[in-house]
């Protein structure tokens, strides 16, 4: 075992949680991520494996909130798969073995920062930071959007007051600042 201490995207050794009157912004450092893109001519086989893994193939604009693995659509025949990092540190290797030559798998764990935004004021916050029709999004909706000029994914989770935001990790601080200032504004 190596002795290297990982840092969260915000630079801490533990995930940061910020609580306001009606909103909580929690850095989620526990996600392992890997992208899956179907190989040309192997789309059906790839879909079959995806369905077996997640229970369904995530459609455009949708996520499949399966436990422990979940996935959302990123582009034509391209998905992001997520799972608890604690149990799936080597998720990309696992998926690579699972999909074989039917898909290209790329580790994405280190590329993203993840924030779970929860609370009654979540829709108000969302309206201050991105153009998504948050009040019409249903559980499992996954949309690509811009937040503070950063390309992000926003996923409506099962609870109506919970969204998960995936943004570029190198800009975690800027994204966090945007969410915090918006939380102050709507709290």
């Amino acid at each position: 075992m190596h002795d290297l201490q990982p840092l969260t995207a915000l630079g801490g050794t533990t995930a940061q949680i910020d609580s306001f009157a009606h909103i909580t912004i929690a850095e989620n450092d526990g996600l392992a991520l890997a992208s899956v893109a179907a190989r040309l001519g192997h789309e059906a086989a790839c879909h079959k494996t995806l369905k077996k893994l997640l229970g369904a193939v995530p459609a455009p604009g949708k996520a499949v909130l399966h436990d422990p693995e979940a996935g959302f659509w990123m582009g034509p025949d391209q998905w992001m798969i997520g799972a608890p990092r604690e149990t799936h540190e080597l998720l990309a290797d696992t998926l690579d073995a699972l999909f074989g030559k039917t898909a290209s798998v790329t580790e994405q764990t280190g590329a993203w920062v993840c924030f779970d935004v929860t609370g009654l004021a979540m829709p108000d916050l969302c309206e201050r930071v991105c153009a998504l029709p948050i009040r019409k999004m249903a559980a499992g909706d996954a949309q690509r959007t811009m937040i503070h000029q950063l390309g992000c994914f926003v996923i409506r989770r099962e609870s109506a007051d919970h969204i998960r935001i995936l943004g570029p990790r190198a800009s975690a601080g800027s994204l966090h600042h945007t969410l915090i200032t918006a939380a102050h504004a709507v709290a």
Binding site: M1, G11, L40, Q108, L132, P133, H148, L175
Partner: protein, 978 residues
């Protein structure tokens, strides 16, 4: 001071008194007042000075269309110029100053301009100040600039924050007057997602200004009742204090919500204003109408205002501008003002009506005639009336209401280049057929000027917008009278009769403009500045058009209107910027070692959004050169480490991955062995070099491509374009992994010794030779990638780990390298070492250079087709005299070699026609002890050893230089293969 002009009734909260100051004098008003209504209540009619002539001015209106009563609101850094007193909500502690004056408001020294009005007519800018020419810059312009403008800026940073936001709805209703409220009730009851926006803080529109009834209650009470119901509907969002400022493409509207303008200071963390982007499937424009004035001599004295404004002040704010009021009208609406004021105990001097069939009154005198002049230096005292029978009358009055008819607020219907059409019944432009997609217009904005018409129109518009069938619901009974207007724009014979009170444009100016040949309405606007002020001519444009039509012998619709453009009302730059200001202007990208580098005291440089360590100063170093020289020497003598995470990384997979790289790189990749890395050059379609980098083959069907930091995004975009559009039949998948991996360059003769302490595998020269790559593990098991590539020209590696471990890896490298005096180096040292090695970078890949120019002409493979290879063979890019990358060093080692300097022949003339080339990158080489540079020289490959002149007129450098190979260090490449 008592509120001497306060009347009974109104919708103000008399239990809440607000203290405020205007020009340093203390007053009181009530919650629910505007600054304008509170000043009028205190007997203050004089509120500002006009733009050009500095004439005394008071309020003209009671709304956002106000041209005159502009003030500097708030103090210190929060001071806001040109704020309309008519929309500024009164709050306790409000601080306001008049503006655009030299001296006090009553004794403005610049009022002397009014004495010279004959010289300051329309277009005087273009005719005067022509001679002597030298005076313009030093005398005329400073004086004019000093005198021009309205309010002043505090020149301090705005301490408040502004937000941007995004809302979606099925139906956006703009305006919450009778039409908007009825539309909202209709749509809200049907379950539609509605946003109802109104610029006022009190919803109800004109219903708050009138005494009319709807059913068995007052209009204001009906509006309040409607609001109560709407608030109970979860599908209706009510947005008071929100001005919709523009209609944009695809049902998108811009709106500014004034969240905290009515407060002394915004609550902590709360924005002052929010710029909303509203996405609406359908829109109902119920923006009402604006009454228009009548032009007559001296019609701009404080106390002269729109009759509807007098009514608003009386009925809503319980204020009269004076105890004696006269009315000048061409329609029945003016009489309504007289009746309302009379009912509140105000003396009506007379109603002057241009129509012979004007309604009579038992309560006050009605004269048929025209107001031809007024008196009163700082406020109206008398109005001169020429009666229809020719007799003159002088009316004693401190306020005069003008009622010239109503202009529907068609602005938003025209923001998509729609044009309004003329409605002769009300002598006004109404919305045309070419509305923005999804828009329906209702109420006064559509030309329905009665309350009943507005209610009907609102309900009908909602049904139309939502596609609801069936008859309209039964409407409550209310007034439904036409205004019986006789078009009347200005009094014959007047000259200094103001049309545009904000920009001081008179009837005489419009006539002069026409006389001087400005016949297009757009030319009239530019020449006279009619309608170009912050109010955008809401109360003036129609008068100008009417006079222009008369002069040109045309009808008003033949003259047409100018173009309506957003924003509808003045919008602060702050709210357009939102949170994107200062440090938050754009997001930052931090490298994995940023925290560690900060601890070391690194100096950072912005590279796009990235913050990269530029150098690491040490104690005792007084200049950046000392630090950089040390970092370079330490790296070349032992080992250095640099964060290169910012280089773009693209994961390329698929059975056609190698074939794909063969297309995007001009050199070959198909035969690259697994476990090997190769330098690659990408060309644009036109044969110009786009970017360079490396591609490492981790498996038969898996490559990792690196790009320069600056081109990470453009290259990825280019690769996706090639994949999706040019070669969709290739089995290749791309995804960026730039941020997924923390990557460090470890360079120098001790780099292998250092990494051997960390890497779990054998990395000897035999096991891991130059240009090798592999998936490895480090520190006993962490997955990592290792590339033996070198930008510095030294024995070097780039090692990558998942980003979360980047900080730990940097600390581990520093610990393991302590015995070798490992030295972190920044982008400056990186740059020095790549120039010493002669590696091209962004300065050389500058969008004009080819592979040939870069000395890599032979890399463009003739054995395969690749993007740009064919066009790189164009005649103009080849042949004799092409630029060629060379090294440049000074003949005298003490001389500088600045970047940007140009090369001239040793004995030739120094001018652009004899330019031989230029320096692209330059630095001081601590290894060589003098300045060095790389650049491009005509036929450079054949001019090695030649002495030339290097000139930089801009920096006054003129030195002799020698042309050399660009490879100053280790030209044989022995170090990097060691």
């Amino acid at each position: 001071m008592t509120q001497m002009n306060r009347l009974a009734g109104g919708q103000i909260d008399r239990n809440k008194t607000c203290k405020f100051t205007f020009d340093g004098k203390a007053y009181t008003g009530h919650q629910g007042d505007t600054l304008a209504s509170a000043l009028l209540a205190n007997g203050v009619r004089l509120m500002g000075r006009s733009f050009k002539y500095h004439r005394p001015r008071g309020v003209l209106t009671a709304g956002s269309e106000e041209p005159n009563a502009l003030v500097e609101l708030r103090a210190g850094a929060r001071q806001e110029p040109n704020t309309r007193a008519t929309t500024a909500e009164l709050y306790d502690g409000l601080f306001a100053k008049s503006q655009n004056r030299l001296g006090s408001l009553k004794f403005d020294l610049l009022a002397i301009n009014d004495r010279f009005s004959n010289f300051l007519t329309a277009g005087f800018y273009y005719k005067t100040f022509m001679w002597p020419a030298a005076f313009w810059e030093k005398l005329y312009e400073p004086i004019i600039r000093n005198a021009a403008g309205l309010g002043s800026l505090s020149l301090e940073d705005d301490p408040d924050v502004y937000d941007k936001g995004f809302l979606h709805c099925d139906l956006l209703i703009i305006g919450a007057g009778p039409a908007g409220l009825m539309a909202a009730l209709t749509a809200g009851r049907a379950g539609t997602d509605v946003i109802l926006a109104d610029e006022d803080f009190a919803v109800g529109g004109r219903l708050n200004s009138e005494t009319l009834t709807i059913g068995d209650q007052s209009g204001a009470a009906w509006a309040a009742q409607a609001m109560t119901e709407l608030r109970s509907l979860p599908n209706v969002r009510i947005m008071p204090r929100t001005t919709v400022i523009g209609a944009f493409d695809h049902g998108i509207y811009g709106a500014v919500e004034r969240v905290s303008d009515h407060m002394h200071t915004p609550d902590a963390g709360k924005p002052r204003q929010i710029l909303w982007r509203l996405y609406a499937k359908q829109t109902i424009l119920a923006a009402g109408a604006i009454e228009r004035p009548i032009a007559f001599e001296n019609n701009d004295r404080p106390g002269i205002m729109l009759a509807s404004a007098l009514r608003t002040y009386a009925n809503r704010f319980a204020v009269t501008a004076d105890k004696r009021v006269a009315i000048f009208t061409n329609n029945d609406d003016g009489h309504r003002t007289a009746a309302d004021l009379h009912a509140k105990g105000v003396k009506i001097s007379a109603v002057v009506d241009v129509r012979p069939d004007a309604p009579r009154s038992m309560d006050y005198e009605v004269l048929q005639g025209e107001v031809v002049d007024t008196k009163g230096r700082l406020g109206l005292t008398f109005a001169e009336v020429k009666q229809a029978d020719g007799n003159m009358r002088t009316l004693e009055c401190g306020a005069l209401g003008m009622s010239g008819g109503w202009n529907p607020n068609v602005h938003m219907t025209c923001h998509q280049r729609g044009r309004p059409v003329w409605n002769a019944d009300i002598a006004a432009f109404v919305p045309g057929a070419d509305l923005p997609a999804g828009m329906v217009v209702a109420g006064a904005a559509n030309g329905d000027l009665s309350t009943a018409g507005a209610l009907r129109g609102g309900a009908a518009a909602a049904k139309q917008a939502l596609g609801l069938k069936g008859r309209l619901p039964t409407m409550p009974e209310t007034e439904d009278k036409p205004i019986n207007l006789k078009p009347f724009w200005y009094v014959e014979g007047c000259s200094r009769a103001w049309l545009d009170q904000q920009n001081d444009v008179t009837v005489k100016d419009v006539k002069l403009s026409h006389q001087e040949g400005f016949r297009s309405v757009e030319h009239l606007k530019r020449y006279t500045t009619l309608g170009m002020a912050t109010d955008q001519g809401k109360t003036s444009n129609m008068g100008g058009l009417a006079i222009m039509a008369e002069l040109a012998g045309k009808t008003i619709p033949e003259v047409g209107t100018t173009i309506f453009r957003p924003p509808y009302t003045p919008t602060a730059i702050g709210v357009l910027g939102g949170r994107h200001r200062g440090q938050e202007f754009h997001p930052k990208r931090l490298t994995p070692s940023h925290r560690w580098a900060t601890e070391q005291g690194a100096i950072f440089v912005e590279v796009g959004n990235w913050l990269r360590a530029q150098w690491f100063p040490r104690k005792g170093e007084t200049t950046w050169r000392e630090s950089v020289d040390r970092e370079v020497l330490a790296t070349r003598n032992s080992v250095g480490v640099c964060d290169v995470t910012t280089l773009g990384k693209v994961d390329v997979q698929g059975t056609d991955a190698a074939a794909f790289l063969n297309k995007i790189y001009c050199n070959g990749f198909a035969l690259l062995a697994v476990g090997k890395t190769r330098y690659g050059l990408m060309l644009r379609e036109d044969g110009i070099a786009m970017d360079d980098g490396t591609a490492a083959r981790l498996a038969e069907d898996h490559f990792v491509v690196t790009t320069t930091t600056a081109n990470a995004l453009p290259v990825y975009r280019h690769m996706e374009f090639v994949r999706q559009c040019l070669y969709p039949d290739m089995d290749v998948q791309l995804i960026s992994t730039t941020e997924a991996w923390a990557q460090y360059a470890v360079a120098g003769p001790n780099s292998r010794n250092l990494l051997s302490k960390i890497v779990d595998q054998d990395i000897s020269n035999d096991a891991f030779p130059f240009m090798a790559c592999a998936n490895i593990t480090i520190c006993g098991g962490l997955r990592a990638r290792l590339f033996r590539i070198s930008f510095s020209g030294e024995l070097a590696y780039e090692i990558a780990v998942p980003t979360a471990y980047g900080d730990a890896l940097m600390r581990k490298i520093m610990d393991a390298g302590a015995e070798f005096d490992v030295t972190p180096y920044g982008t400056e040292a990186l740059g020095v070492m790549r120039i010493e090695k002669g590696h091209a970078a962004g300065n050389e890949l500058n969008g004009t250079t080819t592979a040939l120019n870069l000395g890599m002409g032979r890399m463009v493979s003739k054995k395969k087709d690749s993007i740009g290879s064919t066009l790189s063979e164009r005649e103009g890019l080849n042949g004799d005299g092409q630029l060629y990358q060379v090294g440049i060093k000074p003949v005298d080692a003490n001389d500088p070699v600045p970047a940007g300097a140009h090369l001239m022949n040793a004995d030739g003339p120094i001018d652009a026609a004899h330019d031989q080339g230029y320096v692209t990158s330059a630095c001081f080489s601590p290894n060589l002890g003098h300045a060095i540079a790389i650049g491009f020289l005509k036929d450079g490959a054949n001019r090695m050893g030649e002495t030339m002149q290097l000139v930089s007129p801009l920096t006054r450098v003129h030195v002799d230089v020698e042309i050399t190979s660009a490879h100053f260090i280790d030209p044989e490449g022995e170090r990097l293969r060691a």
